[in-house]
């Protein structure tokens, strides 16, 4: 029996099916600089040589003070999170389909769902999705299924990566995605109203927006419902410690990325996505849902429920082709929320806002820099620079500071704007350092 995954003949067949002449053509979209130079690996080494080598590599990463957000945030992670989530009982890739031997995992996920429901203000949620961007795309798919319509309105103030994921998901479906250009980092209500009609399945918004602006979409919920459309809001879970929840705004679906809840930055992943919705929409929710039940003797137990939505039963008619969740990252989110509690989360959110407000004032005092007036912001905000944001960020990186996200990369015409993020981890000293170094970088 051969152990090679594909024969030359099979490779030829597969290439023919996708219309590529050879392997080289298949990989052409990947820039040559990013491809493996060779698979001819050096000889093996001992554990200790390897650790030395890795330490040396890690040592080359100088210390950088991060003021970068835009979807991923540098928050504190209590020690309890690593400790509990690292227990072997949880640290497994096993899928909990057999309730008779998965009660611990199922109960943890059930409690995770309870936490997400309370956080978002909704009645049902799933056991987590891949990440925040795909969760937003799944919310759009849900709305398309529920309404039977084929038009989606997407606010331009939604995270650009999430918008791209939504467009990718819907690209080969008979669905029209209409992007509503942002008005100074917020939802342009006039333009939305002009686009909103009875062909729309969903309005997709974000709170706070990619620009950090806090909004209340209660009026948008009402307008969407007036046309028979659903409102899906992508939210930053830490902000829900002090902000109005999507449920309170009358939204139908809430999604978001759970990285900020007990998950390190991990170079941009893995994290987990959450998706919560009004109870009536439960049969249209993608992914796994854990339910509470009783066994034959009346004892409380947990099972995966309403599985008829899922691939292993509904096959090609499943509500989603999602066949994974991010249990371990979601569990970290649960432990994080349990460790902080309701008041702790509110306190954490207030600290983020207060430190960001302090940073706003400090940066506005820098010569030539202004913080445009606008709606309230949570923990990130836009500053306007007298020079290009890209070159300013590069100059500050050389000074050991990651100053933020240059907005011109995603919004043409905003080349002089920088999105600065301040979490509870940034100290007053670091914020003052940012202001000093920014002045130096701009004027030296």
């Amino acid at each position: 029996m051969g152990f090679t995954p594909h024969t030359k003949e099979e490779i030829r067949e597969m290439l023919a099916a996708v219309g590529a002449a050879d392997i080289e053509e298949l990989f052409r979209p990947i820039p040559t600089g990013l491809r493996a130079k060779s698979f001819d690996l050096p000889p093996g080494m001992s554990e200790f040589e390897m650790l030395d080598g890795l330490r040396e590599l890690a040592g080359r990463n100088g210390h950088i003070v991060p003021f970068v957000g835009g979807g991923f945030y540098d928050h504190l992670v209590p020690a309890a999170v690593d400790h509990l989530a690292g227990r072997a009982e949880f640290y497994t890739a096993y899928t909990p389909y057999q309730p008779e031997c998965s009660q611990g995992t199922l109960q943890a996920l059930f409690e995770y769902q309870t936490a997400v429901c309370r956080l978002t203000g909704f009645g049902v949620t799933n056991a987590s999705l891949y990440d925040g961007g795909t969760a937003l795309a799944e919310a759009a798919m849900m709305a398309l299924r529920v309404t039977g319509r084929s038009r989606v309105l997407l606010d331009g103030a939604v995270n650009p990566f999430s918008r791209e994921i939504v467009r990718t998901y819907l690209a080969n479906l008979p669905v029209e995605v209409v992007e509503v250009p942002t008005l100074d980092g917020t939802l342009d209500r006039k333009r939305l109203a002009a686009e909103l009609d009875d062909r729309c399945a969903a309005v997709l918004v974000q709170n706070p927006t990619f620009f950090g602006c806090v909004d209340d979409y209660t009026d948008i919920s009402a307008k969407a419902h007036g046309c028979g459309a659903l409102l899906a809001a992508s939210v930053y879970p830490v902000s829900l410690g002090i902000l109005k929840s999507p449920g309170e705004m009358g939204a139908d679906i809430a999604v978001g990325d759970g990285q900020s809840l007990g998950n390190p930055l991990n170079f941009g992943g893995p994290s987990f996505g959450f998706l919560a919705a009004r109870k009536e929409l439960i049969r249209n929710i993608p992914g796994r849902i854990v339910g509470e039940t009783v066994d034959r003797e009346g004892r409380r137990g947990f099972v995966l429920t309403i599985q008829a939505r899922e691939q292993h039963i509904k096959r090609h008619k499943a509500t989603s082709n999602i066949c994974t969740n991010q249990s371990l990252c979601a569990l970290r989110g649960l432990i994080f929320l349990s460790a902080l509690g309701k008041n702790g989360l509110a306190e954490l959110a207030r600290r983020n806002r207060d430190k960001a407000e302090y940073a706003k004032a400090a940066l506005a005092a820098v010569r030539g820099v202004s913080v445009p007036a606008g709606p309230p912001t949570f923990n990130e905000f836009t500053v306007r620079l007298p020079k290009g944001a890209d070159e300013t960020v590069a100059a500050l990186l050389r000074r050991g500071i990651a100053a933020g996200v240059p907005l011109g990369r995603y919004y043409p015409g905003m080349e002089d704007r920088l999105l600065v993020t301040v979490t509870e981890k940034r100290t007053k000293g670091e914020i003052n350092l940012l202001a000093r170094e920014l002045e130096a970088a701009l004027w030296s």
């Binding site: 049969r283 309403i306 008829a308 939505r309 039963i313 509904k314 008619k317």
Partner: protein, 124 residues
Amino acid sequence: MSAMYYTKEHEWVKVDGNTATVGISAYAAEHLGDVTFVELPATGKAVKQFEVLCAIESVKAASDIYAPVSGTVASVNGVLNDRPELVNESPEDAAWMATLKMSDPAEVSKLMDAKQYEEYRKGL
């Protein structure tokens, strides 16, 4: 004067003048096992004969229910929203799913009567 017909996909239809009442056969209900949810069609929905009318879920399967005749959904049995188990208890009576306003009554010629259906079932 109503007449009862069956399809190869195990739906039944009771034809009364221009109104067709639709459900699934006792045989289908038994093979699905405990029914947990009936996804009723929307009233006003137009369907063609043998096209998907709605769906049904049990503890072990999810299946489509096909329209035995063409027409427009006139009413649905809302009781099934709260009591899907009726499909197992009374599949060919209380657990009717929808009524259709028929657009082509001649279509019943493509269906089986109770006797033909029983023969068909025995051959499965």
